[in-house]
């Protein structure tokens, strides 16, 4: 399969400080590549190089089959970018924002109008279409941003932290829109700080840290590395902590770790819903009074701990 996005050994330094130290990425056409990393890892810099906004100091990259350094114009004809900050013009209405992009893409007056109307509908912006974009909520503005990015039906989309700072509802709406776009055949590179988001959207995930890809694989494989889901219960009667730890060890089949100071017990729970149901029933049958019962999913932090060995994501099983 041909790669829609390929980067080899990208390096970039700002004022002598290396920010990218050899980034390799590859996304086959029609797939979603999640680039997962903490603030300052170099995600935005990578996106800026791939979208021809910034020249790399070393390394090569091609997008949609064209070299980003040598054939920038051909690349720009085939991509859409949703940058880290929402790039809508606050003084223009949602409709005018999209129409501006349509005119610049030479869709013609009628073509622009048709496409803009369709997108306003599809992105749930029809009711807000004629309000100044500055008055829209963050979620709606981000949707408008995404609509502007797909107006030209680009083959390759770059979404730089598309849901950072959004409320959960807007995030879900945005996720659905992204899935929809991929269904239409586009290739997507999506950066995020959330393992959950990469897991929900990406076919493959590249984990970046300090300007390097430190792991690459399917979400399932990464999560396996990152550790399992973990259940934490907080007890109504602190005196029962040790006893409940023994009970949970037996119920879950993994060693539970008591935390007497907080009257809490944590236990690995890799088996999903079945494990959860069994443990809950067991606790209830034993008459353990619980004030808090939380399932913790592995986070980006857990992935980093697991990959870099900087610490332990959870007590060794």
């Amino acid at each position: 399969m041909t790669a829609a996005i390929r980067a080899e050994g990208l390096r970039k330094a700002f004022g002598g400080r290396p920010v990218l130290r050899g980034v390799d990425l590859e996304a086959p056409a029609g797939t979603v590549l999640g680039v997962l990393g903490p603030n300052g890892a170099g995600k935005t810099t990578t996106v800026r190089i791939l979208t021809t906004l910034l020249a790399a100091d070393a390394g090569r990259a091609s997008v949609a089959g064209f070299d980003v350094a040598a054939r920038g114009r051909e690349v720009r004809r085939r991509i859409g970018l949703t940058g880290q900050s929402t790039a809508v013009d606050g003084l223009l209405t949602a409709r005018e924002n999209l129409a501006l992009i349509g005119r610049l893409l030479r869709l013609g007056r009628a073509g622009t109008r048709r496409r803009v109307d369709a997108l306003l509908d599809r992105f749930g912006l029809a009711a807000a279409a004629d309000l100044p974009a500055a008055t829209l909520s963050g979620g709606l503005r981000r949707r408008l941003d995404l609509a502007a990015c797909v107006l030209g039906e680009p083959a390759v989309l770059f979404l730089d932290e598309p849901t950072t700072g959004l409320d959960p509802v807007s995030r879900t709406v945005l996720w659905d829109l992204v899935r929809d776009l991929v269904g239409g055949g586009a290739t997507v590179l999506l950066t995020t700080q959330y393992l959950e988001e990469a897991d929900a959207l990406a076919d493959r995930i590249a984990v970046v840290d300090a300007g390097r890809v430190i792991a690459e694989g399917t979400p399932a494989a990464l999560k396996r590395k990152a550790g399992r889901d973990r259940l934490e219960v907080v007890l109504a009667r602190p005196a029962e902590t040790a006893e409940t730890a023994r009970l949970l060890t037996r119920l879950a089949g993994h060693p539970a770790r008591p935390d007497p100071d907080r009257a809490a017990v944590a236990v690995p729970l890799p088996g999903g819903l079945d494990d959860l149901a069994r443990v809950a029933a067991g606790l209830s049958a034993a008459g353990v009074a619980v004030t808090d019962f939380t399932l913790h999913r592995p986070t980006l932090d857990d992935v980093f701990f697991a990959l870099t060995g900087a610490g332990e994501a959870e007590p060794a099983a």
Binding site: T51, L53, L81, T86, A87, L91, L92, L105, P132
Partner: protein, 259 residues
């Protein structure tokens, strides 16, 4: 080649249209920008017209070219703020990641600024005429004087673009813009004859690009002009404006591409 040029111009027009739409949405800004030089003209050309004397003519005629140049200077701040906002907000990145030439993005902005400047200059000329300003060398020379002022305004729009690419903070830009207006306005022959400045400031005023532009306008309009002949003043002003414009264009494009 022709197709590329047509496309370039079409992009420029669409992008200039965006800025003109901004003005329609915030008419207060346009009014303020036009009002600023008008207030200056009223203060100097009416209230102070007997208090300030200039060699070889009436002050209400003398001051008009200076206020005209102020229209250009006053634009630097707002243009820079707009450019910086587009850079901060990612709008410039969006255009640059599209098949839109960066030059068209900046041409669209500077040409819309030029349209605003033309409106301001017309208002200045109208009020000036009411206060007693008259050009004395016929319609062609009068028009040439306004063309010189428009060329200056255009160069200043690019200076604003450059400033906005170098300084991103809106509040800093606001102060810098106000400072430019005062320093370049008053350390020139715009409102007072350079010969009336303290001796050590005189060379500053004489080298100030504003002075060559204003001097040329006064020549063309026959408004208490002094110094060089029209031809020499024209050559100086043209050289100064071209150098300013070229420097601002080249440096802006370089700063934006290298980001």
């Amino acid at each position: 080649m022709t197709a590329a040029l047509v496309g370039y111009l079409a992009d420029t027009r669409v992008l200039a249209g965006r800025h003109l739409l901004h003005l329609r949405r915030t008419p207060g800004r346009l009014v303020l920008m036009t009002l600023n030089p008008l207030v200056m003209l009223l203060a100097l050309g009416y209230l102070f017209r007997h208090a300030i004397t200039v060699p070889g003519g009436r002050y209400e005629e003398y001051v008009l070219a200076g206020v005209g140049a102020q229209v250009g200077l006053a634009q630097i701040g707002p243009t820079a703020i707009g450019v910086a906002a587009d850079l901060r907000g990612g709008v410039t990145d969006r255009f640059r990641a599209m098949p839109v030439p960066l030059g068209a993005v900046l041409l669209g902005r500077t040409l819309s600024d030029l349209a605003v400047a033309a409106v301001s200059l017309a208002a200045v000329a109208g009020l000036g005429a009411l206060l007693g300003w008259r050009p004395h060398h016929g319609p062609a020379a009068t028009a040439a004087g306004f063309a010189v002022l428009l060329a200056f305004c255009y160069a200043m729009a690019w200076a604003g673009v450059l400033l906005g690419t170098l300084v991103r903070d809106a509040e800093t830009l606001d102060s810098v813009g106000a400072l430019i207006l005062v320093v370049f306005g008053f350390l020139s022959n715009a409102f007072l004859a350079a010969s009336s400045l303290p001796g050590w400031l005189r060379p500053v005023a004489e080298w100030n690009p504003v002075s060559s532009v204003v001097g040329l306008c006064r020549r063309l309009w026959g408004n208490a002009a002094a110094g060089q002949s029209t031809g020499a003043a024209g050559a100086t002003a043209a050289a100064v404006l071209l150098a300013l414009l070229a420097a601002a264009v080249v440096l802006s494009l370089r700063a934006l591409r290298g980001r």
